[in-house]
């Protein structure tokens, strides 16, 4: 078998392993090593390549952002900011129709601005907001659906681990990607709030009681408690964007700042610190196992020349660039229902990015790469809230086992619809994403 057909056959083999529940990273790693061995035709070059595979992949300056952001997210959870953010939102709009739910979304967005991880945001905000939503009488499905959707803001609003990985794979500027993600992230939050407003008007019994409006003095006081979030966000993202420090250094600043915040707020006793360390360890281990697998697998694909051949082939089909883009988006949406977001990005960007780069969307190459990155970020994040396998749904579900999973599935659907609408909007109007960079 020639190298190209080996690579082509490795896709169904990979899917089979994944469906058999072999961990995704291990599946890619195994197929990558076996595939390279077959392409080389002997074992010596493979053994040579393996000498630096693990250490070389892990000792990456840009990838060190990932564990630092995970650590930052853990510290942010311990800093009590989730409570303060939710209270601030509730004080401001809690008395409106659907206001408590909207406050929860706003708090997720705020938390997402100091946390680069979707699951950490869903878990942290879920713990704070789910009991409150149910206390005021929200329908269980709506409450869990909105928090699962709100959790995705953790990664849509910078900092974002998925964007870091995309930036490395597509060799793009992390600072610019973060800046470009900002407006779509805010749009996501507004879209979710709009969904809540519509749902509670259609089904008034789902929205629970309205709480009494607070006097303005108290509303303003509640806003003051969230200043550390603002300071940390402006320092980290501002510092990265203006180039005062590199993205890796920015992540380090964020981790230290949230660590100090957690310590100052009294959330950092020895027990909690060690639990935060352990969660950072398992989260980082998970990401880097996938990264290692993808490194091996992508080396094999590159050896086989498949990505280039595929890009040339697609370019030669004479399809409209938008047809290719939509095909990719639909691909991500379908696979997102069962696959993990990072694995999808690591597996597909080395194939899709050269393909898309060869197409003419009327944008300069760098803007195209950034726009495509933000679109990919959004569609893979939809995978976190689409049944049957949406990690955020499970995170929220585990906190409220009494809510039937079917209600959660039903509750999250309007938010998925809002995501799809936003993708359409961002495809149709690239300048929504890009205007920040053109300022």
């Amino acid at each position: 078998m020639d190298a190209l057909s080996l690579a082509a056959w490795s896709f169904p083999a990979l899917l089979l392993l994944i469906i058999l529940r072999v961990p995704i990273g291990l599946s890619m790693l195994t197929l990558g090593l076996v595939g390279s061995w077959l392409v080389y035709g002997s074992v010596a070059p493979l053994l040579n390549q393996m000498k630096t595979l693990a250490y070389g992949t892990f000792s990456s300056h840009s990838l060190s952002i990932v564990p630092l952001f995970l650590l930052m997210g853990q510290f942010a959870s311990l800093g009590g900011m989730s409570q303060a953010l939710f209270k601030a939102g509730e004080a401001l709009i809690g008395h409106r129709k659907g206001g408590v739910g909207m406050a929860a979304i706003g708090a997720c967005a705020g938390f997402g601005s100091i946390c680069g991880s979707s699951l950490a945001t869903a878990a942290t905000m879920g713990q704070v907001a789910l009991p409150e939503l149910r206390k005021v009488g929200y329908d269980g499905g709506l409450a869990s659906g909105l928090l699962a959707a709100g959790g995705t803001l953790g990664i849509l609003i910078p900092p974002s681990i998925v964007l870091v990985i995309y930036a490395i794979l597509a060799e793009q500027n992390i600072a610019k990607l973060f800046a470009a993600a900002f407006v779509p992230g805010i749009l996501a939050a507004l879209g979710y709030m709009l969904v809540i407003g519509i749902v509670v008007r259609l089904y008034p019994q789902w929205g629970g009681r309205q709480i009494a409006p607070l006097p303005w003095s108290e509303r303003i006081r509640a806003q003051r408690d969230v200043w550390p979030v603002v300071v940390i966000f402006v320092t980290v993202i501002g510092g990265i964007y203006t180039g005062i420090f590199t993205p890796t250094e920015g992540a380090a600043v964020g981790a230290v700042a949230t660590g100090l915040l957690a310590w100052w707020k009294g959330g950092l006793n020895r027990e909690k610190l060690l639990r935060a360390f352990e969660a950072t360890a398992s989260g980082t281990g998970m990401v880097f196992m996938i990264v290692l697998g993808a490194a091996a697998y992508n080396t094999f694909l590159a050896l086989s020349q498949l990505p280039q051949e595929l890009a040339t082939w697609v370019g030669g089909l004479g399809l409209s660039p938008y047809a290719v883009l939509w095909a990719i988006i639909v691909f991500y949406l379908i696979f997102g229902c069962v696959m993990d977001s990072l694995s999808m990005i690591l597996l597909t960007i080395p194939i899709f990015f050269p393909m898309v780069s060869g197409l003419d969307f009327g944008l300069p190459p760098e803007e195209m790469a950034i726009w495509f990155g933000i679109l990919v970020l959004i569609v893979v994040e939809v995978g976190l809230i689409t049944p049957p396998v949406g990690m955020n749904l499970f995170v929220i579900q585990s906190m409220a086992p009494d809510i039937p999973i079917r209600s959660t599935y039903r509750g999250v659907l309007p938010f998925v619809a809002s995501d799809l609408l936003r993708v359409g909007l961002l495809v149709a109007f690239p300048s929504i994403t890009l205007f920040v960079l053109r300022l």
């Binding site: 961990p23 995704i24 090593l33 360390f277 980082t284």
Partner: protein
């Protein structure tokens, strides 16, 4: 033995996170030093190299814990549709595969370490021997082989797995 495996993995996870925290603090000092360069301060020399070697060390320390916590990403969509015998077989094969691949990688890493020691290659700024980074990561890497072997023994059913380490968790 079980205590040793779980205790070591937990300790490695803590140690790795501590390394990571120290890297973060060092980066902050480095930025501060750069900002006050007019006053005669400067960035921490070789901070880039230290972050690279430190991140690798931290990741090697994290992997055994991640594996014990079953935190690796997988797709369990059809899992409950498989017959119990098939599920057990898959679990054993996955553990065996993990052990085999990891031992292979750690063996090759050890070979690279010896080669770097022999050729005396050093890093650019700190002139730190490259093999030091490999050696530091080799220790948790080799311990990882033990942990994966233990998990295989558990999965075959020779020893009982620990409570609290049977359900999946993860983060990203």
């Amino acid at each position: 033995m079980s205590n040793f495996i779980y205790g070591t993995s937990r300790f490695l996870a803590w140690f790795g996170a501590l390394v990571l925290t120290l890297l973060a603090v060092m980066s902050v000092f480095s930025i501060a030093g750069r900002a006050f360069s007019f006053a005669g301060f400067g960035p921490v020399p070789g901070d880039f190299e230290l972050v690279e070697a430190g991140t690798a060390l931290a990741v090697f320390c994290f992997l055994p814990w991640c594996h014990l916590k079953r935190a690796h990403a997988d797709v369990a969509m059809l899992w409950h549709a498989y017959p119990p015998a098939m599920r057990r077989l898959i679990l054993v094969l996955v553990e065996a595969l993990m052990l085999a691949v990891w031992c292979l990688l750690v063996w090759r890493m050890g070979v690279a370490m010896l080669e770097y020691r022999a050729n005396g290659e050093v890093s650019f700024i700190l002139q730190m021997p490259v093999w030091w980074g490999y050696a530091a990561s080799f220790v948790p890497g080799a311990l990882g082989c033990l942990v994966y072997a233990w998990r295989l023994i558990e999965t075959i059913g020779l020893v009982k797995p620990r409570e609290g380490f049977t359900a999946a968790e993860g983060a990203h």
